[in-house]
């Protein structure tokens, strides 16, 4: 087997690597090249050096989008992880000890399925769903009830101060289920003896959570944080379908992908859009590298 190793490995790799190079690496490289041109989608691109990036620097829409990514980057992982941890704890550990095994609250098997539902839905479906929920008039799910009760309707997507948070709420609702499952898997691998020992020492559920579950789940949390962070750099589908006036009102919900789309397909500025794409690429990479460095910590062996 030893002498046949390389042909064997190469034989396996050649197809995926070729596909990956042709359809992923090459277009990426081309995006970098296009970012240096004023290409408008038709004709021969003209080389303009770093002009697109200079323009980017003065583009208020771009900075607005970056700022929104900053907000989402803080809010989305924090809220999602907090909620997911809480649910996962209740579902797996929160019910106390039964026959020497940690169990979740009553009906946890059912809740587990329910929490996972949003994950099964396509993003576009979720966005359309929330269109109905957030609708500003009496046919909206929430505002229908509010107007029936004689209250003022809430303008979720219209109020510039509320719009981005309404979008974040959708993102959280959509992601929580997945992280509940992820954390549940993590919690399942924590040995029961540790909980028992802690309980014998008189630990409450709160102490259990903060002193046992959380430290032993650190690796999983780190992964979740990186995932959610990267998701925070996307948000395109939800914003495109849900927001009014494509990222409005007046850019209050716009994200980079929305601006890229607008520049490439509405304004026909493929070169400039590529420059934005390059900026987004570096933002995402930087974030991922940073997160993995910052959250590096001795993992606990058990």
């Amino acid at each position: 087997m030893r002498q046949g190793k390389y042909p064997f490995v190469i034989g396996f790799l050649i197809l995926p690597v070729t596909l990956y190079s042709v359809f992923v690496i090459a277009p990426y490289a081309q995006a970098f090249q296009l970012a240096m041109t004023n290409w408008r989608g038709i004709g021969t691109p003209e080389w303009i050096g770093f002009e697109n990036f200079q323009r980017l620097f003065n583009d208020t829409a771009f900075w607005k989008a970056v700022q929104h990514h900053g907000i989402i980057l803080l809010a989305l992982p924090l809220i999602t992880i907090a909620i997911a941890l809480f649910f996962a704890f209740l579902l797996n550990v929160g019910g106390g000890s039964k026959g020497g095994k940690r169990v979740g609250v009553r009906g946890s098997a059912f809740y587990r399925v329910v929490f996972f539902f949003p994950q099964v839905l396509a993003v576009a479906v979720i966005a359309v769903l929330f269109q109905m929920i957030y609708r500003p008039d009496e046919s909206g799910l929430i505002n229908g009830v509010l107007t029936k009760l004689g209250l003022e309707p809430i303008f979720f997507m219209i109020n510039p101060n509320l719009a981005l948070w309404s979008i974040i709420a959708v993102l959280v609702w959509q992601s929580v289920g997945f992280y509940v499952v992820l954390f549940s898997a993590g919690m399942a691998s924590i040995p029961t003896e540790i909980y028992e020992a802690a309980e014998i020492d008189g630990a409450t559920r709160v102490t259990l959570f903060f002193r046992v579950t959380l430290p032993l789940l650190w690796d999983t949390l780190q992964v979740a944080w990186v995932y959610l962070g990267i998701a925070a750099f996307d948000c395109f589908a939800i914003v495109a379908v849900l927001s009014i006036d494509s990222g409005g009102p007046d850019g209050a919900t716009t994200v980079l992908a929305m601006e890229i789309y607008r520049n490439a397909f509405t304004y026909g500025r493929a070169g400039y859009a590529s420059a934005m794409g390059v900026a987004l690429f570096f933002l995402t990479i930087t974030f991922a590298a940073l997160m993995l460095r910052v959250s590096k910590r001795e993992s606990i062996e058990y």
């Binding site: 989608g41 898997a185 690796d219 395109f236 006036d245 859009a273 590096k296 993992s299």
Partner: protein, 500 residues
Amino acid sequence: MSATPDHTSDRVDPSTMTGPDLPAALGTSRRTVLRRAAAAGLLVTPAAGLLGACATGGDDEGNTEQETGAKSATNPLGVKEDAALEVIIFNGGYGEKYATDVHEKLYKTAFPNAEIKHQATQAVSTVLQPRFTAGDPPEFVNNSGEKFLDFGALVNDNQLQDLTELWDAPSVDDPNKKVRDTVIPGVIEQGMFTTKDGGRKPFVLYYVSTVYGIWYSGKLFKDNGWTVPTTWEQFTALCDQIKAKGITPFGYAGANAAYYMWNVILTQAAKVGGPDVLKSIDNLEPNAWKADAILQSAKAWAEIGAKYGDKSYEGLKHTDVQLRQNQYKLAFYPSGDWLENEQKKDTPAGFEYQLMPVPSLTAGDKLPAGAIRAAGGEGYFVSAKSKNPRGGMEYMRQMLSKAGTRGFTETVGAATVVPAGSEGYSFPPGVASSQAALKAAGANVFNMMFDNWYKELDTEARTATNELMFGRASAEQWAERIQKRADAIKADSSVAKFSR
């Protein structure tokens, strides 16, 4: 191209997840989850790559020789009789039936040996961009819809066939009449673009006659005994009456159709200050948006929005708002005369769409109350670098014939830019009223082009108009920010400039 970076954020780069940074003590289940996520990422990846794979291609000089035939009385453009012709139709509000059932049949009758390849699409640029890049564009294109190809970019790249020969050719029905004399005035002008070397040539055929105005239900007005206002005082007085009845007097959809509203504001401004205020906007002249007439109009309409509008409409799409009008919950709605056809399914019997021109704002208005914005809609072009551009032009000539225009009108219920085509045809009430308004306006018809020429300015005007109409900006701030964008476009050498 740019589709690639769009997707970078969708997936997790597996390499960042498996380096030395990844802790050793991975639980089995989490590793599975990770692996699955990475696999999913890899699945998404090729799709994103495929989108990007269509980028620029090489130079497109490699153009095959173009087909020509002998010119004759029945073939004034010298089409090669058996040359194939490819027709791309935007499958939108007007569908594709008018092409397959009417125009293509006419061409086929004139040239029985020619093969016609028909394709309908809802995303013109997605389908055609690679074709132009590859130097193999289709002959005839209906460049319309949300994803239409940027005309400026096409003109700059010499992709469009000069239609002068078509306009000067004898018409199908009367050999003594040139095609240019069969269409309504201004339409050829509308399709003219300035080329890179400074010439001005007709490149685009705008085919559908489109009249803009404010729509109401004839039934609702008759039942309540309301009369159509022609002055601002009458208009606001009527709005008060309508409001008292519990009906929203005026509204448009902020979520996706704010341009219906800037259209009203600018139409109003043209009435106050004459159509030249629109010309200076189109020509990106300094302070064009801050002209007195425009500020007056913006102020007046902002008041209408604040007093007679409904705040929730900002979050609604045009179809939602149009439905509300069909349900008699909204009285006045601004749109073009495609509206009646678009709402066919939702309009209750007897609703009777009617168009009214925007009322006069002041007694000193430069244009009379009946003045309206009307223009050719639906742009069509012939690709200069296609194999059979003469066939494409001949197809246009057939389209503009009496049979071609009549067939279009009968199929989609809309008038074309050839008046002879709709003579004696009985339109549904809405289009009948807009055609009547067009006739009544006489010479007081105007148009604007900036949204077609500079998409960025259109976007800015939409955003600003929502801010204005829903009370977050004053008329001055509205004009200020749009003017700022217009100035930026003017200073931007990468944007092709047009003028009229």
